[in-house]
Symmetry: C2
Subunit: 348 residues, 2 copies
């Protein structure tokens, strides 16, 4: 294992992406996004993705010099094409515009199509919270060509991990936000369980006949993800599909050479609301902070050390990793070396 600083890692990722053909501002934005995921303790959405992005550039799925653009807009809505640039660049552009519109009109709805992998979805809810905005983001459509998640009671995969994120600004206290797959576990956890020859917890996956299993090999042998939380999580997964793909209309913007099997059909929905729509911001923030305190004061149940507000884990990880550096596992480092090598950068 290696330990790298935020600065070292950001510069390295930027350098590789520029060498792969990205415009410098795009490369820098993507690098900052990935490293912030690692800083937040969400290594599954961090620099581990660099190798995939380089591969997608080389295969032509991702256009590293492209810039997103507005397809259609009204005072409080905007539909954006990512033009198949980096998803982080496209999603940031979209959220920036949604925030600007909400500042003028109290609320905004945005859709993003023709985008590659947008990374950690919670990133964009934090952008909104920093501007005093409540937000909700849903990503659908990844299951159209690459179905991995079965509907409740079914044996055939139709959807994907269909993530949802929501964020709320705080006052003196930190923002409250969450960002999760509506499957019981993220795809990378199944990959890791197989690689490490471990069982998954019960209730995460089914085999090819739709029967519950804990063996990750069954997943890759025609099985699928279960939604978290039974029929309720499944309903939420469906809502994410309806908002992200069906409402945004991403099916009609596909390009058979772009986006790969994950993102060709994917669409992202964003809702942004001014937190002070119905009351002064100070009153909203006071009530939000009071709720955070009320939760954190609850005595922990057996087996727990403390009671957390969603977002606390990421905030704590950032504090520790900004101070002590970001640990990079050997197998992840190896993918970074490969990515660098693929674009002619040796001896990193």
């Amino acid at each position: 294992m290696r330990v790298k600083s935020e600065k070292e890692l950001t510069e390295l990722v930027t350098e590789v992406l520029v060498a792969a053909g990205a415009e410098a501002p795009n490369a820098s934005m993507v690098a900052q996004h990935l490293v912030l995921a690692n800083l937040s303790g969400v290594d599954s959405h961090g620099v581990w993705h660099l190798m995939g992005y380089v591969k997608h550039i080389q295969e032509g799925q991702l256009v590293p010099t492209a810039q997103p653009e507005v397809i259609k807009e009204t005072p409080a809505s905007v539909l954006v094409s990512g033009n198949w640039t980096f998803g982080q660049v496209a999603a940031r552009f979209t959220m920036d515009r949604a925030i600007a519109k909400a500042k003028l009109h109290d609320m905004a709805i945005a859709g993003l199509v023709q985008s590659n992998h947008i990374g950690r979805v919670g990133h964009y809810t934090e952008m909104a919270a920093a501007e005093g905005m409540i937000s909700m983001i849903c990503l659908g459509g990844q299951g159209n060509q690459n179905p991995t998640a079965v509907p409740f009671g079914g044996r055939e995969a139709v959807m994907h991990t269909n993530p949802i994120a929501m964020g709320f600004p705080g006052g003196d206290g930190p923002p409250m936000f969450f960002d999760f797959a509506t499957t019981a576990v993220a795809g990378v956890k199944v990959v890791n369980a197989q690689r490490r020859e471990q069982e998954l917890p019960a209730g995460c996956i089914v085999d090819k006949d739709g029967a519950p299993t804990t063996d990750p090999n069954d997943f890759f042998d025609g099985g699928g993800h279960l939604a978290f939380g039974g029929h309720k999580g499944y309903a939420l997964m469906m809502a994410v599909e309806y908002l992200g793909r069906i409402f945004v209309g991403s099916d009609t913007f596909i390009n058979e050479h772009r986006g790969g099997i994950y993102d060709r059909y994917s669409g992202t929905f964003m809702m942004v609301l001014k937190a002070d729509m119905f009351q002064p911001f100070a009153d909203f923030a006071h009530t939000a902070d009071e709720m955070g305190k009320r939760i954190r004061q609850v005595a922990p149940a057996p087996g727990f050390d403390e009671v957390l507000v969603p977002g606390d884990i990421e905030a704590k990880a950032r504090e520790v990793r900004r101070r002590d550096g970001i640990p990079i596992e050997d197998d992840v480092w190896e993918t970074i070396v490969q990515a660098a090598d693929a674009v002619g950068i040796k001896n990193i």
Copy 2:
């Protein structure tokens, strides 16, 4: 058990509410709402509530002649006071205005305060879907005076069942909608388990020390609900609290004589979006119907007869109960007889 027609039951409930002091249009609206819940198979939100409403009127918590009014509005937002009338009357008023605003401005955000029990939350998403609108509704704040749900990893109840509902119109196919408590089970299921001396499934409740239990008596002895789906369901429960109570600002509208311990602090958030914001409605509806078909065609897993889209269960129940009548259990009928008796109606 008795079987009653939609018409019989609606007339009876209306008559009791009018005798309890309600304006006839309010009484009729509440009766239709409750009976539609029974028709939909959601008996927990049906005519069983009549006795409670009569009691709340007699105690002064609910003002049966009051009408809701707009506190504050902009072209695309509205904050409504229910003036402590029936929650169904207040929520319907709020959703009607949100829909009207969304027709003109593509989207609307509404808040409702000073309201009693709004009943089956999915009712209002169906109103929106019937007008070609996507909607989301969150009800928070019921835990302020009557906490029943523990935060993830905690032993002390802070929130309540914090329901969320979302709805999406279809084209030729039916709308997709869901409506659920963010607790693992609704409160009435714990009450029924205790009354029938049954155990609850694992993962639904904790005892007063925060330890998992299946004994409903532990719930009433200082225990609490768990969120459905672990930390993800807990995060959603928190978001419902933030949207329904904190964003809407219901804390600042309380009246110590109204609303009772459930609804004094409660607030309701509604988001309404025109489904054709980014594309013609026919294209949205076509994709939505195609998704419904794709889901219903999935072969069922072992132990399941069919794969359903959220909302299918309610649609099927309506078909059956409109044809065969609404079954009313003896203990529920007894509460209706008591409610009628309390307002001087004998021999129903």
